[in-house]
């Protein structure tokens, strides 16, 4: 993947949906085939932990392994096809002013926070808890804990080193950066706007993102 920044000509005023998602909160909603989703990093350096499910069958969902293997690259940017666990294309990234997004690092969870930071940080809010609340409050989508899996971290910078290390670095995002995706099938979008306070993924200061949807 070359890190070419691709802007979009879509006007925010023409969007059929605009919703600000505060840090620590979630977004869940249907994106129909051909519709375009933009996730906008309003204040910069903010991770948006995102999962996609087939609207017809929630057991078919975004698969990080299929996605990176088929494109032969571990980073996501314009031109990346996001694949399902059945190796079908679910969405394509059609614009990206950030340049690189992570899909190796997974989401923060209270349980992994105890390992990464301190056993006594287990009650700090996490992405997985936001997702747990989302699926509990929205049984209509048929998503449960078993479907909550390896996600995308939009706006997050997690480089792999030559020697096989994985580093969490300061974000390369900034206020107003965005990523845009066009759906190739009807999908459920599930986003946790990351509340993590213990590493630089949110610049130690979680801030809101905005979700915008256009009909095409």
């Amino acid at each position: 993947m070359t890190e070419t920044l691709t802007t979009s000509s879509r006007a925010a005023e023409a969007a059929t949906l605009r919703q600000v998602v505060p840090a620590g909160d979630y977004y869940i909603g249907l994106l129909k085939a051909e519709q375009v989703l933009r996730i906008l990093d309003l204040e910069g350096n903010q991770a948006a932990d995102t999962l996609f499910y087939s609207a017809e069958n929630s057991a078919e969902r975004y698969s990080a392994t299929d996605t990176i293997r088929e494109q032969g690259n571990v980073y996501l940017t314009t031109g990346s096809s996001l694949r399902s666990n059945e190796n079908r294309v679910m969405l394509e990234i059609v614009a990206d002013t950030c340049g690189r997004h992570d899909t190796l690092g997974g989401a923060c969870a209270n349980e992994s926070n105890t390992v990464r930071y301190d056993l006594e940080k287990r009650c700090m809010h996490s992405c997985r808890d936001s997702w747990m609340l989302a699926v509990a409050e929205h049984p209509e989508y048929g998503i449960t804990k078993r479907d909550i899996i390896h996600n995308i971290n939009f706006f997050m910078n997690v480089p792999v080193t030559d020697s096989g290390g994985l580093t969490f670095e300061d974000g390369i995002s900034a206020p107003g950066k965005y990523v845009e995706l066009q759906a190739a099938m009807d999908v459920i979008v599930l986003i946790s706007n990351c509340p993590q306070l213990n590493n630089p993924c949110n610049g130690y200061n979680p801030t809101p993102v905005e979700v915008l949807v256009w009909d095409s």
Partner: protein
């Protein structure tokens, strides 16, 4: 005998295309040996007491700031606990981000799976191998997390391009896992999804099972980073009250 092994109780071979699942108790070991070289063993872990708790590749990688798996690493569940430790490894690098071969890829590269023609030398693929084993526990495709590919090295360049390193696993390559909690283990000996060899691989893998030596205070895996000490603390809490 490795200092991590008290005894080996069972030894078997998994032929190419074979798959298996079994429950291993806390305090047991599994040693995998690549008999002829060029093997790939796909592996997944679940908690038999709660099948929703499963191997989590992202947590395993980020908790230990690593992209590769090797000796000294712990293999984490999504609940902050350690299923198993990699206590010994002659290879230095194993993949956990590429997933499985699937029926379409295998058919394209080596011809379709056909039991009528090939009997048990058929071209089984990793995805279907896991589906079969998962179904034995009431699980399905939705439960198939990112798996480990033992014996396979996938390197990444500065731009993020991935490549399977050919001939990474020589004959005799070996690794030793020690189970730190009761674990349902699913495994297959199917080709790595990036394997472009001219023929479907035919090499068997030896699997040895036995009892682990007690975990020493200076254990390499438990002490290789602060994160792993905390992971072992979470396991201790999980086993509180158990002998």
């Amino acid at each position: 005998m490795s200092k991590y092994i008290q005894s080996i109780e069972y030894r078997t071979e998994i032929a190419a295309g074979g798959h298996w699942s079994l429950r291993l108790r806390r305090g047991t070991v599994m040693r995998l040996s690549d008999i002829g070289g060029g093997a790939n063993v796909g592996m997944l872990f679940y908690n038999p007491e709660n099948l929703l708790e499963r191997y989590n590749a992202p947590d395993t990688l980020k908790c230990q700031h690593t992209f590769r798996l090797t000796a000294g690493h712990c293999l984490y569940s999504d609940m902050g606990r350690v299923f198993a430790s990699v206590v010994a490894d002659s290879l230095g690098w194993h993949d956990t981000v590429c997933g499985n071969s699937n029926a379409e890829q295998v058919a394209e590269r080596w011809g379709a799976r056909d039991y009528q023609r090939d009997s048990n030398q058929w071209h089984q693929n990793g995805y279907d191998a896991f589906l079969v084993e998962l179904a034995k526990y009431g699980l399905g495709g939705a439960d198939m997390a990112a798996n480990i590919n033992w014996f396979s090295k996938v390197a990444v360049d500065a731009k993020g391009n991935m490549a399977l390193v050919p001939d990474h696993s020589a004959a005799g390559g070996q690794l030793l896992l020690r189970f730190e909690m009761d674990t349902l283990v699913l495994l297959h000996n199917c080709p790595h999804p990036l394997n472009a060899a001219p023929e479907y691989p035919t090499g068997p893998v030896q699997v040895e099972l036995g009892l682990a030596a007690p975990v020493a205070e200076d254990d390499h895996c438990m002490n290789s980073c602060e994160e792993n000490r905390r992971g072992f603390h979470n396991n201790a809490l999980y086993h509180l009250g158990q002998a």
